[in-house]
Symmetry: D3
Subunit: 236 residues, 6 copies
């Protein structure tokens, strides 16, 4: 199921079924003092593993780096430029195309707008010029469906209640016991040179309210929902 | 020790010791019918984990894709272009520099000449323009020190006796029991459009002679040697 | 006040007051059968003219083309690529910087996400590398503040009630008498090669309910709000 | 006739006649103390409006910025780089091609050699790779036909007698009453870093001799001549 | 005097005098049936050799390829793209700068407008960003000073009387005995996809009237004039 | 035989035989105090001249510049960037393709690894996308066949015994009488910012043992061997 664990021969055989290939995009990004830098890697990796199991797809090796704006200057954030990220996804999709892959689900853990547009342009290239069928989203977008239920009206965001709960379910060993509340400070329409000002504590939301149970609820929901979406789009 | 498992706060604290950062470069590349596509990922990941433990360094998230020429058209190879790979390594080194990292060891599992020049140019940028101290090599180069001893005069190469043995030590579950002998067919100085012709079986060397013991011998040697090299270069 | 109507000498004199420069970005884009292709040009041009009058700024020549995705294949849409648009805005900001301009308001009529990220990256370059103070938004974002009041729960969007009303106020001669209702059809997370499928009629919203009065209400609100935002950001 | 004033539907209808599309290229460039920065915008806009009326073509939105060398450091000049300008024209021609436009007249007000080569390369791309028929010139080239008659042996050039007269005809409100004589100082074959040295007063020619009548004579000549050229090339 | 004939040590010694470096740009371009493809290489090489002798400068290795438009599709023309030529000259000027060269004369045999702008942009980079003093011209521009005298009112141009005479002086062995008269056919302002139509015979001018004596007269004039120009610009 | 000495007509005629075209790549690079900067130009030029004579091919104009790493900061080295060199070779191969050339031998005097990868990528483009048959090597690779015989166990390398002997055969006037012994100092796997440290004297090997006779022996061997290789690859 993991492409990197298959031999070339086994991969060729698996390709006969015209499988869906899942491409997880992670990140190395500051997520406050309580979450690991790989938060946005662990989430989509777990998600695609579960969904691929259910729909019988293959999982490509993770892209471990993304593009970051607001957390760029925080310790531990490693960021690609827009152009590099776009080329990276474009090259991988082209190589999958050369391997006769027709169906791809690109799932990014990081939800930054610049980051997603870079990925989107690469995916558009694949659909418009290579004739591939590509679905692209962030599991964070699906997590947001539960924001009302889980956060109960509290503001939440980067490294907040939703994400902390999810990591407590996936990698409980990596979440700090001490967890506080972080605020998001809007810069309005100013393009600022110190974008980290919008996260004075490095994250936003009440991480103290996070729990493994909530995380399991969210992760289960995401896997269920993505499985349905994938089936609807590729098996319809 | 793994950067993606540290929080932003823990990373900032670890940086106070001015640690060496190890950047492992993997690949998704056909290695014959007996080895997994992630062969060149598993090897440097294992190596940097061991060496970083000994010298007290940090391990950055793995780059899971590389540039491939001769195996480009074989099932399962996913290749970046030269320019993308160069940009990718360049961006990561620049982000490490922004994080005040001064010492980097770049270890690539894949040993292709085009691949290594892309990485080398990115490293040169970091040393010449950012003032970083960068060491760059392939663990395959160190494995070759033992070629004479291990292969005993038999021709060896991509996916052959050395690599198969190493993976038998690291990920025995991923190596096929049936393993044959592959040949390398030289194209002379012709630049061919079907470069896979040089590996009629997808690999070269006698994979049948590989063993876990040989792999352990090689892997131990590599870890020992790289540890010494790193200490000589960064602690001298 | 319009830079293109000033002589070089008059411009130099006007620069002594360290004025805010407004850069309007238009578009040539299909907006349904009832609105002109220049809809996204006429709106920000009118807005910056009014706001510049109030705060005493200068208006740079309009960029008359933008980047388009969903309407790309509709008659009359002329689209730049992402890279060209980013370079275009970057070059202009650099030239303004060479002219000692410190404060810029970039106002785009078109609200596409790819389009705005291209502009945003150019603005970030100017704030991070040139030390300029840049505000960037779409007047459509401000119009949305009134969506509830004006559209009364009806879905609205590209070329819909808000935009049609605004153009009826600005250029009534260019709005068709016959105006129907258009729907937006979501593609979910599929990256499609025929993105125009999301606007079966080329626009979304009930254009039939548009009126000059509503347009005046919206345009007045936008000018008032932007004037305040500009003052808060640049005169605070 | 102005594309930005047509709806998508009206544009589609107009395209049935396989019309010539006129693309005016303006500039924001210092033209001495007596002429507006938009001088090179007002001239081709007026020209294509008149010619398109006569031959029944469509007028695309103006590109309001160009590439500038000698006036780069003068107040008010806003310059694109060579690469941006080339991409800009290339993208627009490709979008026109996607809209099934076959015949294009590109008219640039600015006559700089670097500027024109950027445009020319974009046009060559369209003729060689897209099969379009493209005519490209500057109205200044046609104005030069009358230099002998109008300037009577006096040296003339950038912002001089010809241009000043033309703007007095087109936008008399924007021409200063006080107008002097400017010189062109040749730098020989030196590539200088202060190219503005060639226009000590920011323009060359005797602007004092300019008149609305002369401007009308020139503008009429240009419209007549361009109309003939367009007919000869596209209707022949 | 030829840099490629000096050792590194001898070059370092020669640099103590802060010498002028001459960079000749040649071409491999069709020049009709009577002239060699290297016509535009032989001319500037001969010129810089003579001038460097007189002013005591160094001659850099020749760039043997240029950018070609009108002769692109004729047998034997080998053309660089605009971008490659610009980068090539830029890189060489940067390397000369690293070698502490301050004064450069760039002499191109080919006189195409696109070709020269590519070179000019590279030279502008060197003067504006590296502080070098750069003179750039084509020896053809100096030959044109004698056009009236030599051609006596006959139209002349690419591969015509001037160029043929010059090559008869420099490389008489490479000029055909049979030489005819070629015409230049103007395409007006059309950007054509078959630009070779402007030279039905591959050249323009009366090559039959060419002679070694005329060539010597022209070549002597060029060397004298360029020597003076160089002295005026660099020794003044 | 030299393309630059043929007329367009003669070139067209020569093309009827579908000849092999030889493209020599030279360099302007420090080769110690005893060898000229053009060492890597003189060697392949001489080689291709001899081989082309024997197999009846054409010789394209020499590329006189290459990419340099270790000697970059030594007096007289003029280096292209990787990207420029790749584009340069790519453009020339594309122009040869436009001229219906099918068989190319690219021979580079310089043997740097970055340099050769740039050339290789350009050649791969030609074979994979243009269907050309391309052979690419360095004559230094062939000289190495004789290293054991000529150097008798002495370390040799850049500017050493092999190269000095070859130039003594080709251009004896350019080799210094005084010649010493140079060492190569390995930097291990460090990417250094002062790569010239690896050649303390600017070259490596015992240049004092060089002789014209040895050079003749090597050069003859190279011409013979390359002739055979070319015949085997293109006439087989």
């Amino acid at each position: 199921m993991r492409i990197d664990e298959l031999s070339s021969t086994a991969f060729a055989k698996a390709m006969e079924a015209d499988p869906i290939v899942f491409l997880p995009l992670g990140a190395c990004e500051a997520h406050g003092p309580h979450l690991p830098l790989g938060t946005d890697t662990f989430q989509p990796e777990e998600t695609v593993t579960q969904v691929a199991k259910r729909v019988g797809g293959l999982v490509a090796p993770t892209i471990n780096y993304g593009q970051h704006s607001s957390t760029l200057n925080m310790p531990g954030t490693i960021s690609l430029t827009f152009d590099t990220l776009r080329s990276l996804v474009k090259d991988i999709l082209e190589s999958l195309h050369r391997n006769k892959v027709h169906k791809v689900v690109v799932l990014t853990g990081h939800f930054g707008s610049v980051h997603r547009i870079a990925i989107k342009l690469a995916c558009e290239h694949a659909t418009q010029h290579l004739g591939m069928k590509v679905m692209m989203l962030s599991d964070y977008q699906l997590a947001l469906h539960l924001e009302k239920e889980i956060c109960q009206g509290l503001e939440d965001g980067h490294g907040g209640l939703l994400e902390t709960s999810r990591i407590m379910d996936i990698r409980p060993d990596l979440v700090a016991k001490e967890r506080s509340h972080g605020e998001f400070v809007d810069s309005g329409y100013l393009i600022v040179s110190d974008p980290e000002r919008c996260f004075p504590k490095g994250f936003s939301g009440d991480a103290g309210l996070a729990s493994e149970e909530k995380g399991r609820r969210i992760n289960t929901y995401i896997v269920d929902t993505l499985t349905e979406l994938v089936r609807a789009n590729f098996e319809g």
